[in-house]
């Protein structure tokens, strides 16, 4: 998802008998549906896992601006341009909500940026694919934001208060993202054969990477079981992927598009679609930094950070000077 394959430091999930009294009381609060708040006691593993998950999520929002930002200057109309600008600005906002939530766990903003810029921290695999045509902007809103919503809606109920509250804000805004994308595609599918072909091409390229967003099957993963016990993950990757496919296929049909999966078939018995396996080798390559745009994305982030340094320093200097002046008896 926006946070993929988050490790928990757990080699196995503790039973209540293995926990000390403090940890057991903590788990009981989570089981009772209570929220954990920043200054309260929490197991070190819970804190570290949340920092990893929330910061990876934040990094994804920030890097996620880049593939779409690519089309702001080339949007087909002024209205589409204004909408895309607003959407990309939302992504920046979502990143900021999430960084704030991560900081309540005792990590600094600059440390988080450093982890992103050095390549130490990950962000979602999906943003390492290129946006080749205007239809890609539609496909990203529809598929990528659609997949993100699948994951983020349950995260609103997550056990950590600041993360849960950030997710509530984000989910309120996310539906606009998906709808504006689908609206782009509806419009293009009423257009010329060339425009329709662009939409089909975009779906062909974005379908599998979108399914990969949920991460490989984690039914056997100790990290997943631990995260679920802590209620910082609510559904398995396969569950969410199934839900996404079931919701999205009829939307593709409505548009008159063919989903690029020969194994896709409605399964009456399970009341959902059967579908093929994404190419997990490709996924692991992208995660490892070898996707089509990894270097470009990180490069753009680093350049933005470094080129902005003089500006950040200037504002800091101004603020310090103004504060000195405000002190009684300060020399002008």
């Amino acid at each position: 998802m926006y946070a993929q394959m988050v490790k928990t430091d757990a080699s196995r999930v503790k039973s209540p008998d293995d926990m000390d009294s403090q940890e057991r009381a903590f788990q009981e609060r989570i089981d009772a549906g209570q929220k954990i708040e920043p200054k309260e006691w929490m197991p070190e593993g819970y804190r570290k896992t949340l920092i990893r998950q929330i910061s990876q999520h934040a990094h994804s929002e920030i890097v996620g601006q880049l593939p779409e930002g690519n089309w702001i200057t080339r949007a087909p109309t002024l209205e589409r341009k204004a909408i895309l600008l607003a959407k990309v600005q939302d992504e920046a906002g979502h990143g900021l909500y999430l960084y704030c939530a991560a900081e309540t766990l005792g990590v600094s903003r600059d440390a988080l940026y450093e982890q992103l810029h050095s390549g130490k921290a990950k962000y979602s695999s999906i943003f390492n694919y290129p946006t080749l045509s205007w239809a890609d902007i539609g496909a990203i809103g529809w598929l990528v934001d659609g997949a993100a919503i699948m994951n983020q809606v349950p995260l609103q109920r997550c056990s950590y208060g600041p993360y849960s509250r950030a997710m509530i804000r984000i989910c309120k805004e996310e539906s606009f993202h998906q709808r504006q994308g689908y609206d782009i595609l509806i419009k293009m599918m009423k257009g010329t054969p060339a425009q329709k072909a662009m939409v089909q091409d975009a779906l062909n390229r974005w379908w599998w990477p979108s399914l990969m967003m949920f991460g490989p099957s984690d039914d056997a993963s100790v990290h997943s079981v631990q995260s679920m016990a802590w209620k910082i993950k609510q559904n398995s990757n396969d569950e969410l992927r199934q839900k996404f496919v079931d919701q999205t296929v009829p939307q593709a049909e409505y548009l008159g598009l063919a989903v690029p999966d020969p194994d896709l078939k409605w399964n009456e018995e399970k009341g959902g679609y059967d579908f093929g396996e994404p190419d997990w080798n490709e996924f692991f390559e992208v995660i490892a930094g070898n996707g089509p745009c990894n270097a470009e994305r990180l490069g753009a982030r680093r350049t933005a950070w470094e080129d902005g340094a003089w500006f950040r320093d200037g504002l800091t200097a101004h603020a310090e000077k103004a504060a000195r002046r405000a002190q009684p008896g300060a020399a002008e």
Partner: protein, 94 residues
């Protein structure tokens, strides 16, 4: 070499005469920029008509460990709620 901008807590007053409410935090070099940034980060959809910002380091907070002594005494004082008292129907609306 850059030093990190301080953290500010952001409070927004919504449209309908409610109190300012904490909505989150952000980094900014000074109060003026904090308000400018809060406008962009927290009120993109008409969420507010007024913004307060305060440096996070200036907030004093109760400790989670004091939760019991601070708030439990109120549990025993149910008579502070009007529903504690049974008023006969005959007395009319009260």
């Amino acid at each position: 070499m850059s030093s990190e901008w301080p953290l500010w807590e952001v409070f927004i007053r919504g449209q309908h005469g409610l109190n300012h409410r904490h909505v989150g935090s952000l980094h900014a070099p000074d109060a003026e920029m904090a308000i400018n940034n809060a406008r962009d980060v927290y009120t993109r959809r008409n969420e507010g008509v007024s913004i307060w910002v305060v440096r996070s380091s200036d907030i004093a907070a109760s400790a989670p460990s004091e939760k019991g002594p601070l708030f439990e005494p109120a549990n025993a004082k149910v008579y502070r709620h009007p529903t504690f008292f049974d008023i006969p129907d005959e007395a009319g609306h009260m």
